[in-house]
């Protein structure tokens, strides 16, 4: 497995779970007369809400105002509607490649300069007539997907696959700014007070069964996601910040927000289901997967995106084919044709096997581990068919200390852990000098990080021992292990650290074990299945763990990691000031003032060390020589727009 496997899962969890619950102080402004907050249980206007038990109901009925009144009652601001590929094409027109493609392909990526040349000359969109539109790409994917239903997305693997088959209105660009895709939308407007978003869809959008995609599909999907009986793993958080979604006609969809939040632009982005299909089956089987009809849909889903699933062998491969109905209506081209005719996802979990596969030309892309990058991909056997590139990425790894345990309640102990760990050994020896040290939660080159860079912790055993002494952990019973009297019992400072079974991660934990042994702290390293690790962390049943987070599209998405009682606050961290700063940051609309809030959070976390931050992992990818157009964002080469959409293969000469 590449080192990213479970972290990538967690990353998406972080990305998707954009916003945790905030106190719903419903604002009584000019809309209030149209949006009466009705008492719980009264049957309101939104007749689609199924009769769920009152206590579980997530949505209050809502009576949307007539469209004319809505349009005239507020000032509207236009929001960006773009074609991501066209934007990239414009940007690249201004840059000249540093070398020809043939020259770049002959190069070996041994220096930063070489990396830059390869990226600038191979990471380009095709000129007219250059691309082979009949090409097939064999993509590597490290685990199978759980479901083909887009609202059931919960890991990056599903995001990778369903992002290509699914229909959505919005995207994120390379600098993680949101925009509406011109392939789906003709206009996107928000009210000046930030409480309403109005989107007008194109009229030439069709599901794979030939029915039109309309605004009603979006309104319907919102109701499904918000139905407490539907087991939606990730996409409900964020979406639950919406007050209502209403389709005024086939093309006009309006999103009503509870509060004017900076994160509202993310909350309106959720996957879309075909209403005409699920309308009939949903009430009978709210799990969306058990009934016969849903089993059939799982096997061959009705999709609205550029690709459809044509074959799926569990644990082996998923084959997608380009949908003509996406780009053409009545044989007339209405949208850009995606570059690949067929995409074959090959599921290979073992990193050694996948490396052999890319060397043999069986897959076209692969995320490389530091060991693979440094020692396994330097010879002719790799360069014969492939090349490799690296770029910065916002993924960082850490040890999490469970603050609810007697060991880590004290900040001094957590800081002692950070001082005891040999960061240099980890970076140099275990990570082959490829990863940058991380000092805090937000990436230091992000806009939300403090201007004055925080100094990453360095090993200082004297300081670590002094802090442990100060915190009262002293070896009283002469067994070489520090201990402390807690509730009349002598508790030794001995704990387990959970880690997923990947060689590099286990090695890092073994290094922690060695280092802490030196200062009289005993660690048991417990490698477990990544699913077990997720389970244990979600249930807070651990003392320490090794894990990672990827950057969400917005720093606010980290609130569900740090706010008191937040769902992904595995370490039980609680600091009222951090809670307040997140709440303020969300309401603050000015970017630079927001940045100050998040910078302050970063500083507080740095002082408190609920995590020992370890390193920031950049992107390291191997690509087949036949592949072009890879462009990297802080979320890697795929998870943004155009992302995968800019990849292509040249026509055979």
């Amino acid at each position: 497995m590449p080192p990213g496997r479970e972290s990538r899962t967690m990353r998406l969890l972080a990305i998707l779970a954009a916003v945790a619950l905030v106190g719903c102080g419903r604002r009584q402004d000019e809309l209030a007369k149209h949006a009466p907050v009705e008492p719980v249980g009264s049957s309101g206007a939104g007749g689609k809400v199924p009769a769920a038990p009152v206590a579980e109901r997530l949505l209050q009925p809502f009576d949307p105002p007539p469209l004319e009144e809505l349009v005239s009652s507020a000032t509207w601001i236009d929001r960006p509607v773009r074609d991501a590929v066209a934007v990239l094409r414009d940007q690249q027109r201004a840059q000249t490649p540093k070398a020809g493609a043939a020259e770049a392909l002959a190069m070996r990526n041994t220096s930063a300069a070489a990396n830059e040349v390869i990226l600038s000359s191979l990471g380009r969109l095709p000129e007219e007539g250059q691309a082979d539109f009949d090409a097939r790409i064999d993509r590597h994917i490290a685990a199978d997907i759980n479901s083909t239903n887009p609202i059931m997305i919960s890991s990056t693997y599903e995001f990778d696959v369903l992002g290509l088959t699914g229909f959505g209105l919005f995207s994120t660009d390379r600098s993680l700014e949101p925009f509406a895709s011109s392939e789906a939308v003709t206009s996107w407007q928000s009210t000046a007070n930030g409480l309403i978003d109005k989107v007008v869809l194109r009229d030439d959008l069709f599901w794979s069964d030939g029915r039109r995609i309309t605004a009603h599909d979006i309104a319907f999907t919102f109701q499904v996601i918000m139905d407490p009986r539907v087991p939606v793993p990730a996409v409900r958080s964020g979406t639950d910040q919406l007050r209502w979604v209403h389709a005024y006609d086939d093309r006009t969809i309006v999103f009503f927000h509870k509060e004017p939040l900076a994160t509202n632009v993310w909350n309106i982005n959720f996957p879309v289901l075909p209403k005409h299909v699920y309308e009939k089956t949903w009430e009978d089987d709210p799990t969306l997967k058990d009934s016969d009809a849903h089993v059939k849909l799982e096997q061959s889903p009705i999709v609205g995106g550029p690709y459809e699933i044509v074959d799926r062998k569990r644990g082996q491969q998923i084959v997608l084919r380009r949908r003509k109905g996406w780009s053409h209506v009545d044989d007339k081209q209405v949208r850009g044709v995606p570059f690949f005719k067929e995409i074959r996802f090959r599921i290979i979990e073992d990193p050694n096997t996948s490396l052999l596969a890319i060397k043999a030309g069986e897959i076209d892309d692969l995320m490389l581990t530091p060991e693979q990058w440094t020692t396994q991909t330097t010879g002719d056997d790799f360069y014969e068919r492939n090349t490799k590139v690296t770029a910065p990425e916002w993924v960082s790894f850490h040890f999490g200390w469970n603050i609810e345990t007697p060991f880590f309640a004290d900040r001094r102990v957590r800081r002692a852990m950070s001082y005891a760990f040999n960061h240099d050994d980890m970076l140099e020896k275990l990570c082959y000098g490829l990863y940058k040290p991380a000092a805090g939660h937000f990436p230091e080159d992000g806009w939300m990080a403090p201007k004055k860079k925080l100094e990453p912790y360095k090993q200082n055993l004297d300081k670590a021992e002094a802090l442990l002494d100060e915190a009262g952990w002293i070896d009283r019973d002469n067994d070489g292990i520090r201990d402390k009297q807690i509730d009349g019992r002598l508790v030794p400072l001995e704990f387990s650290v959970l880690v997923s079974q990947q060689p590099l991660r286990v090695e890092i934990c073994k290094l922690l074990q060695q280092n802490l042994e030196q200062v009289g702290v005993r660690v048991n390293v417990r490698p477990v299945e990544s699913t077990v690790l997720q389970q244990k962390t979600l249930e807070r049943k651990f003392e320490a763990y090794f894990g990672g987070w990827g950057a969400g599209t917005d720093p606010d998405s980290s609130e569900n990691i740090w706010a008191t009682g937040a769902p992904r606050n595995f370490v039980n961290y609680s600091n009222p000031e951090v809670d307040r700063l997140f709440a303020d940051g969300r309401r603050e609309l000015d970017r630079s003032k927001r940045a100050e809030k998040y910078a302050r959070i970063q500083e507080i976390l740095y002082e408190d060390q609920p995590y020992t931050w370890l390193f920031q992992r950049n992107s390291f990818y191997g690509f087949s020589k036949s592949l072009r157009g890879y462009v990297f964002s802080p979320r890697g080469p795929y998870n943004y727009s155009p992302g995968f959409g800019s990849l292509w293969k040249p026509r055979a000469e």
């Binding site: 020896k429 067994d479 387990s496 090695e507 042994e517 048991n524 417990r526 299945e529």
Partner: protein
């Protein structure tokens, strides 16, 4: 004067006489003896903690910490040695002296530069070819393979003996009960044995390892032992079935001996020879199972040295041949040795084979 008769050789003496005539089997026994010596002396062969040292007027044996980390003398933790002895001993007590292991290398961590005066740091990544300081090379993280192999011997031998010891106790007890009493006891034991035989050991172990809260090498051994007793039980049962009808058992019974006494005193010693054979083969298979588990990453939790784990390190970089060759050879030779011993035992104790092969 009585004529001095030659002392009768007896069954075991005869077997040993025949055993000695097989050079391969004797070599195998010698090899196992050698491994046992390596296992016991492991901390004195390779390690970074003194075998014996005098520090502030007292004698210590810090090397015992390799057997159990609780055995490390506390004084060194209190004096902040932080696991690095050579420099600290000299600095904190100039009067001190120490006897060092033959090879100054650690099975769990890479030796740093100048930890041993004048010795460079262990090479890491794919640079750790076998050399004078690292006899069998180092792994990707700079840990010495020779030290890992030496300390891994302890694990390999322990796994073999402990798990098959447990399997023998279970197998002989159940087989004896079934064979001696017959009837419903026999069918119960036989059916139970068949049920256990049907369970694929490796898969059962993988499942159990996933459930167990705190996996240790001892639990792995227990699981291997608890699943590998079936052939022992079947053979013991057969022997007991055969012998309980024999004259000497009848004589014992006539003399008033109880069932327990008959089983332990009369039948068991006479049925041991054929039972030893599956035990010996079982030890070989237990070592293989432990290596496969470590190779798959389900072995004993860190820190622990295991031959299979070294092989697992090799998987990510096959060009580091020393990570394949040394542990592979060790596993191969050890399993071969036990199999040779088992085969020889079978031949020297089975009268039919003995007649045919002389």
């Amino acid at each position: 004067m009585t004529a001095s008769l030659p002392r009768p050789i007896g069954f075991w003496g005869d077997a040993w006489r025949r055993f000695r005539r097989r050079p391969l089997a004797v070599a195998a026994v010698a090899f196992i003896g050698f491994l046992a010596a390596v296992a016991i002396l492991a901390p004195a062969i390779a390690g970074t903690k003194p075998v014996l040292c005098r520090y502030k007027g007292r004698l210590y044996a810090p090397c015992l910490a390799y057997f159990d980390r609780r055995l490390e003398p506390v004084v060194f933790a209190q004096d902040r040695f932080r696991g690095s002895y050579p420099a600290n001993l000299a600095a904190k007590d100039p009067e001190s002296w120490a006897i060092w292991p033959l090879v100054f290398q650690d099975p769990f961590r890479a030796v740093r530069a100048d930890e041993w005066p004048g010795r460079p740091a262990n090479p890491s990544r794919d640079q750790g070819r076998p050399s004078r300081t690292n006899l069998f090379g180092t792994d990707q993280y700079g840990v010495d393979v020779f030290a890992k192999m030496v300390h891994g011997t302890t694990v390999a031998l322990l796994v073999g003996f402990v798990s098959m010891g447990l399997a023998s106790v279970i197998g002989i007890t159940l087989g004896a009960l079934g064979g001696y009493f017959g009837g419903w006891a026999d069918s119960l034991v036989s059916r139970f044995t068949e049920v256990v035989m049907c369970i694929p050991t490796l898969i059962l172990i993988l499942a159990l390892v996933a459930i167990v809260e705190k996996p240790t090498i001892w639990k792995t051994m227990a699981i291997i032992g608890a699943t590998n007793w079936t052939s022992i039980a079947r053979l013991t049962r057969g022997e007991f079935l055969r012998l309980r009808q024999s004259e000497f058992v009848m004589a014992a019974r006539a003399a008033g001996a109880g069932p327990l006494r008959i089983m332990l005193r009369h039948i068991l010693p006479n049925s041991l020879a054929p039972v030893l054979v599956p035990i010996t083969f079982g030890i070989a298979s237990a070592i293989l199972i432990e290596s496969s588990l470590s190779f798959l990453g389900f072995g004993p939790p860190p820190p622990s040295a295991s031959w299979g784990a070294v092989l697992n390190d090799a998987r990510s970089n096959l060009s580091m041949w020393w990570l394949v060759l040394f542990p592979g050879m060790a596993i191969f030779l050890t399993v071969l040795a036990y199999n040779l011993v088992g085969e020889a035992l079978q031949e020297v104790t089975d009268p039919r084979l003995r007649e045919s092969r002389k």
